[in-house]
């Protein structure tokens, strides 16, 4: 489908234009971190955070979380209307979804370009849409997926795969969930800016915000249903693994992996949406990406300018991540 005058006239956003959208450029952005255990949203306007809400998954008309079948009936006002009125913000909301998937719901793997038959990203995506087994030999999920291809710096790729590109990252999400998100966004009379899975967001953030120099970084992501371990060298993700087990099992693999990669000097970073239990933290060596560390990385805390004029600062992992992603996208 391409742009056409007929399509434009048929889908003319008259109501949006007449409600001020024609001249308004500062519609609020609602960034949603969605996990079955921890759901957080931040509301921003003109790059300033004006609201932070936790445990939103339990609210009526809440955004969909994969695997959570609780069907909350909406009240007279929609979820985003209530949220925006609490923050005293107006306009059509723009949503960024950062959902946390289980291992079976998120396909995220690095492929060597040498093993690919396709030399073009569009052909590769077409093959994945037609039959994922053409690209991923061990694929056995019957559900339709939406696919995207990223390079080692986690940038979206298009066109021909260059010869110097040694590896690409294939990301797949269940199409049902994406459609569910789109229909929910439509019900909120908003627009969808992106659906970026948590591991992709975290690793992109890590590559851009934390300089490694010539060293190697092992990044451990403690998610609700899985643990993701990535190896980052020269700001590029060269290895990515998902574990269904707990952190310690993944952690034990680091020395052997470092030896395989001949990385004598390596750093371990741990990112978690919530505080790591003390017992677990005691057994881990590495830098926990939270609190003061995040403030030093960003150079500032996340400031929330509340409607009453007061300012609240936070250095939580999720607010920092969402605020950064929002700046990246919007």
């Amino acid at each position: 489908m391409a742009y056409s005058l007929t399509h434009y006239l048929r889908n003319f956003p008259l109501k949006y234009y007449l409600l001020g959208g024609l001249v308004r450029t500062d519609d609020p952005i609602i960034s949603l971190f969605l996990s079955s255990e921890n759901s957080v949203t931040i509301v921003s306007r003109k790059r300033h955070v004006i609201g932070l809400e936790s445990d939103i998954a339990s609210l009526p008309d809440a955004p969909p979380v994969l695997g959570d079948t609780t069907d909350m009936l909406a009240g007279s006002r929609s979820f985003s209307t209530k949220l925006l009125s609490r923050c005293r913000a107006k306009g059509a909301p723009r949503f960024i979804f950062v959902p946390d998937f289980g291992v079976n719901d998120l396909y995220c793997n690095i492929h060597a370009t040498a093993n690919l038959r396709e030399s073009n990203i569009e052909n590769l995506l077409e093959s994945l849409h037609e039959e994922p087994r053409q690209v991923i030999g061990s694929w056995d999920d019957p559900r339709p997926f939406r696919w995207t291809i990223l390079n080692s710096r986690f940038e979206v790729m298009k066109g021909n795969i260059e010869r110097r590109t040694e590896q690409i990252t294939v990301i797949g999400l269940p199409a049902d969930y994406c459609e569910q998100v789109e229909s929910w966004v439509e019900s909120q009379r908003g627009t969808l800016l992106a659906v970026v899975p948590v591991p992709i967001t975290c690793l992109k953030w890590f590559c851009e915000m934390i300089p490694q120099g010539s060293g190697t970084a092992f990044v451990m992501l403690l998610l609700s249903h899985s643990v993701v371990m990535a190896v980052v060298q020269r700001q590029e993700v060269i290895l990515l693994r998902q574990y269904m087990e707990d952190l310690e099992i993944a952690y034990r693999e680091i020395p052997s992996l470092a030896e395989e990669l001949k990385a004598d000097d390596y750093q371990i970073y741990v990112w978690s949406p919530k505080a790591i239990p003390v017992e677990l933290a005691r057994n881990l060596q590495g830098t926990e990406l939270t609190g003061e560390v995040l403030r030093q990385i960003h150079g500032h805390s996340v400031q929330i300018r509340r409607a009453d004029g007061s300012r609240v600062e936070t250095n939580g992992a999720v607010p920092h991540l969402l605020h950064w992603l929002e700046g990246c996208i919007a």
Binding site: Y17, L22, R146, T148, E182, L192, L193, A194
Partner: protein
């Protein structure tokens, strides 16, 4: 990362909302539509005016039909009136001779004696009426011959002035002449008038009938 895992349809819809060119096109479309509003209002006003006119025209047509229906019984009266109107020039151009004679009588000075009086009608018009054609005179010739008893006084002029006052409007004296004197010192004269029948003969001494007969 923008539009990651967002369907193409959604991306296009968002560009319609936020894309500069689409906003510009939207603004032009909306402004264009607003500019059409006065034309629309004028069109509606013209349509309503046309509707009102049509309603009033229908009402007038109905009223005209009613009036036509009401005039049917008056048709015979109208025909009679038309016939009477046909007689109007005949009556108007008929000079009341008795009144004319009376006017002459009251106008004669004391020392003037009238020998003869000639009244002739001339210059006829043909006036068709039911049952025939009338010849209606357009002018009457009145010739008076007489004598003056006293010489030196302008009795003829006095007689002429008095008579002209009584004659209908438009009448004029055609001839006023003293003839050769006779031996008895009486001075003969001839006066000739062209009398135009105007329908107004009150000057001749006619009086309005107090209560005219009804038809």
């Amino acid at each position: 990362m923008k539009y990651l895992f967002v369907s193409l349809e959604q991306v296009i819809q968002q560009n319609y909302r936020y894309g500069f060119l689409f906003r510009l096109a939207g603004a032009i479309l909306i402004l264009g539509s607003l500019l059409q509003a006065p034309i629309l209002v004028l069109g509606v006003a013209a349509w309503r005016y046309h509707e009102t006119q049509a309603v009033s025209q229908n009402a007038l047509q109905i009223e005209a039909k009613n009036l036509q229906a009401a005039t049917v019984p008056l048709k015979e009266v109208g025909q009679k009136l038309a016939q009477i109107h046909q007689w109007e020039p005949i009556f108007r151009n008929r000079l009341p001779i008795s009144a004319l004679l009376n006017a002459v009588q009251v106008s004669i000075p004391q020392n003037v004696v009238l020998d003869s009086l000639l009244i002739e009608s001339e210059q006829y018009d043909r006036q068709p009426v039911p049952g025939g054609v009338y010849r209606v005179p357009k002018e009457y010739r009145v010739v008076l011959q007489g004598v003056e008893k006293q010489e030196g006084e302008d009795l003829l002029q006095e007689f002429n002035d008095t008579l002209l006052k009584h004659l209908p409007t438009g009448s004029e004296m055609v001839r006023s002449e003293h003839l050769e004197k006779k031996a008895d010192r009486l001075a003969p004269f001839v006066l000739q008038y062209a009398v135009k029948p105007s329908g107004n003969y009150f000057g001749l001494g006619l009086k309005r009938i107090a209560e005219p007969d009804t038809l």
